[in-house]
Symmetry: C2
Subunit: 304 residues, 2 copies
């Protein structure tokens, strides 16, 4: 038994696991049971003769062997897809770029860059999808996006260590802000002191495990009171406007809040810079991806 006896299915399953980060999520995505995924991976590991994944409580991480196999599995999948396209008489993937972006890039930066790109390079076709920063990094490594706009927070270290280092370029670098109801006592000033944030009611995001809780000012020395939970920015901001509480807001969104909301910087705490970073895996970027990268940088520059 050797890797040559692996199956395309096993490689696809492995890639999905690498992308989703857990067997369970990969199983759901593929329409299998978790147990089927577990067995596929076990079989693949037996074929390869080494562990591909390090099982940890919050999911799995690639081992060195896993990184090798993932890279090849992605290449194999690309060949198979290319064959399918050719057989269907479709054009190659030449002018296509797949972009991933994390939520707060979706309101300004990404649409703006896409509009610009369509004007300047109409031949480039972009497909895109939203995702959390860790999910996007896994997607880059799993080859399911070519380019990703991710978020980093202080201390802005390299976002993972699971393989060849990501190439990155900082798009924007500004500080987190708070959105307060216009009727709120704090709305009067031109900034908020971090001490004033104690005891406030917050409108938070889902605190689903692993991902940090969004919406509540980080580093408060108390357990925050989360009065409302919402995933959507527009909903959150309307809740703020309705006076239901405060929420944090990335600076890129500051310009597009509804009436009844004031956005203010926060002073007196540690730096809460939020970088939007463009990330990709291998240099050089293919031409269409490079065009998109330029458009994103241009949009970041004008938007700031």
């Amino acid at each position: 038994m050797a890797i040559t006896d692996a199956s395309l299915v096993a490689l696809r399953v492995f890639r999905e696991v690498a992308e989703r980060g857990t067997f369970t999520a990969a199983a759901v995505a593929l329409g299998y049971t978790q147990s089927a995924v577990s067995r596929q991976i076990a079989t693949l590991e037996r074929a390869v003769g080494a562990d591909l994944l390090e099982r940890r409580h919050e999911g799995v991480r690639l081992t060195t062997a896993g990184q090798i196999v993932l890279r090849r599995a992605v290449a194999v999948a690309e060949q198979v897809e290319a064959a399918a396209r050719e057989l269907a008489g479709l054009p190659g993937a030449g002018g296509r770029v797949r972009l991933g972006w994390f939520t707060s890039a979706g309101t300004g930066l990404v649409p703006q860059a896409l509009a610009e790109l369509r004007r300047t390079h109409p031949a480039v076709t972009v497909t895109s999808r939203e995702g959390s920063t860790p999910a996007l990094i896994r997607a880059l490594r799993a080859g399911s996006v070519d380019l990703a706009v991710i978020a980093t927070e202080p201390p802005h270290r390299p976002p993972d260590t699971d393989g060849p280092p990501l190439r990155t370029r900082v798009l924007t670098d500004r500080s987190l802000m708070v959105a307060v109801p216009a009727t709120h006592p704090l709305a009067g000033g031109s900034f908020v002191d971090v001490a004033d944030l104690r005891g406030q009611e917050w409108i938070g995001g889902h605190s689903s495990g692993g991902e940090r809780l969004m919406g509540v000012w980080p580093g408060l020395d108390e357990r925050p009171v989360v009065a409302h939970v919402a995933r959507d920015w527009l909903a959150k901001l309307h809740l703020v406007a309705a006076g239901c509480g405060l929420t944090t807001i990335p600076p890129v969104l500051a310009g597009m809040v509804p009436a009844g909301v004031r956005v203010l910087p926060v002073r007196g705490g540690p730096d809460e810079g939020r970088r939007m970073t463009l990330a990709w895996l291998y240099d050089p970027l293919p031409a269409p991806a490079a065009r998109l990268a330029e458009a994103l940088e241009a949009a970041a520059a004008t938007g700031s």
Copy 2:
């Protein structure tokens, strides 16, 4: 069912069939029965949704869809092999070239070029194998050799039409000769007239179907008398020396016949030029293959 549901085994089988030219030969090579190969191909064709092979009485030929799938199957196999090498901690295939050569290139040209190459570029590792010209062309297309020394005869047209045209370069271009026993009446002159070849006894190669019969002068207007059959050049030439008959001999071998054999040109018939041609599939050749190609050309130039 789509090509994405194909299996690595099926792709490997398909590639082997493309290389061997028949299901039966592929089955033998892979240790399967012919029926297993037939079913694998049928399944793959169903998955792809098109015929991959045109069944003909003497074997199979690739259809257009088959050419597409073969190219991708080769790329997939390369990825898998690369993964295996990486996992085993071996170096990549960087400095390796796989050469194919047809029989009469094996006595002079190939060893000479390899010796020269080892001297000038010791970092290049060459593996090589013998094969008939059609087999070598299939091997090129199946990606199992990188470079091939093949033979062509008049009218020297492109050797096949099964896919992207082969790149070629002529190495040598000389005429077929006959080897006669030194004791034979014809051995006295400095050439032989084609008319004198009638009624002679010949030492032939295996006339196994498809491949043309080697050893007997082509185009005789009689059924030749094949007194002995041998595959090996040295055996053939020793049979000639023993006075058992005549045989044809490619010019590259003229200089290395044993005592008791005379090699003579033939006049009076149509041109029986025999070209040795270097062939490969995709430009540009990777560096190590290019070095080998140069060495082969140099050897061809000095040898003539």
